[in-house]
């Protein structure tokens, strides 16, 4: 839909055909991120080699925004150190809030549209939170702090 910038073609492509979907035969780190109120659930598996991400796979069911973000970030984080990933996650959080372009984040700039959708930002933040949880050795995380 040309008039829906959030659901632009690149986002829908990543949603329909996400990169890195699957699981690893052997992983060094893993975590599950879940937003139970929305129904989003992602599991990330990693091989961390010499303090850098070697391989990454994910599975689970999530909305288009969470799935596309997951797919896009995989490309970006491979070969990166923990510190560098922490920096990217913080820059991504700023990007979805401010809507300002960040060239270091590549395709993820599609999520700048979330500046106008505060209620959907937690969807895009879930993959990042899950990745950080995996690296920190935490089994579970969520980006839902909803009042209901």
């Amino acid at each position: 839909m040309a008039d829906s910038a959030l659901y632009q073609q690149v986002v829908l492509e990543h949603y329909r055909h996400p990169h890195n979907r699957g699981s690893l035969d052997a992983c060094t780190h893993a975590a599950e991120g879940a937003n139970p109120l929305c129904g989003d659930r992602l599991r990330i598996e990693l091989v961390v080699d010499d303090e850098r991400i070697g391989a990454l796979r994910f599975n689970g069911e999530a909305c288009a925004i969470a799935t596309a973000t997951m797919s896009m970030l995989g490309e970006l984080v491979r070969g990166q150190s923990r510190e560098s990933i922490a920096g990217m996650a913080d820059r991504f959080a700023r990007l979805v809030e401010s809507g300002d372009e960040d060239r270091t984040l590549g395709a993820l700039n599609a999520m700048r549209e979330l500046q106008r959708y505060a209620s959907r930002r937690k969807c895009a933040l879930l993959p990042w939170a899950t990745l950080r949880a995996a690296l920190a050795g935490e089994a579970h995380t969520t980006t839902e702090a909803e009042s209901a």
Binding site: M1, P36, C38, C63
Partner: protein
Amino acid sequence: MNALHESVEAFDVDSVRADFPLLERSVHDKPLIYFDNANTSQKPASVIEAVDHFYRDTNANVARAVHQLGEEATAAYEATRDKLARLLNASSRDEVVLTSGTTQAINLVAYSYLQPRLQAGDEVVVTTMEHHANIVPWQLMCERAGAKLKVAPISERGELIVERFIELLTPKVKLAAVTHVSNVLGTINPIAELARETRKRGIPLLVDGSQAVPHLKVDVRALGCDFYTVTGHKMYGPTGTGALWARKELLRDMPPFFGGGEMIREVRFEGTTFADPPHRFEAGTPNIAGFVGLGAAIEYVQALGHARMGAYEQDLLEHATRELKAIPGLRIFGEAAHKVPVISFLIDGAHAHDLATLLDHEGIAVRSGHHCAHPLMQFYGVPATLRASLAFYNTHAEIDRFIAAILKVRTLLG
């Protein structure tokens, strides 16, 4: 032509829509289709003007000023109590406590009526389809007292299983709390039938009327319940208004919930004597302008006529249900025989929040999520649904646009 069809045709939706200024606006450059009425309804100009007029011409505090403005403000505020009493067919205006909405009304009953009576081993009965507002206050009371919350189940169609409800009405039950209309399923519960059973056993029945009053003619005496709650902002009135109706003899024995001004007879440091109901439960300065607006909302709906409004809404419900069911992979949650125009649904392979955001781009406001009814979501085994909730100002043409938009966005996500 039968009487029903005549009344449907007599309903002039175009002129009704002209009474609601907000319905004229666009969203994302598309004409707004507001299908989120169970969340909050829009307000007719007469309500907006009543609030505006109150602040411009009448503003003063109630029940404590002898000057002219105070008299006028008090009269305007108290007039809404009379209108609510007539709307609900209460036997007396003193049975109507003005509250901020249903949540406060239920909490008032929980703390003031139930808490002093509830003991370890006692039970409170609710149903699977309750809103959190009609679960959590009872849960809090039960936890404190060591009592048990029992849940009457529903069928897959979203109807309360009445026999199972009756089975739960043991001598240990100190209160039963049931919604009149489900905010998720649209189901209209058979309150009169349930009330006959609770009365037989001397169990007070609280009915959450939040979703019912916007659609149905409610007669608390005909229903035979003991407590009935009202939410102003869902019945075309301002936010922060509502009411608790309760039988006079129940209110008379209830201690105050909040302490403060207006609810007292005499205050001494040795002890305070309290006002009679309903003012005993109305401590502090209330949302006076809001209640003046609520009075205008009640007048608006009564002038429109519940029968005509209801027949038209049933027509919308039937149309929307038929069209939605024709969409492959679409599942409707709640197919009760008696419903208001509230339809929850999901589409295979499409996430509720994605659909809601994409429909918003088409100018269509629906709610996605759990609708403050986690236990009901757990019953159906889904985290969230989409909910289209209609009002008498919605149109058949809007339903057609809504269906076309669903087909469009589903293709996008598929």
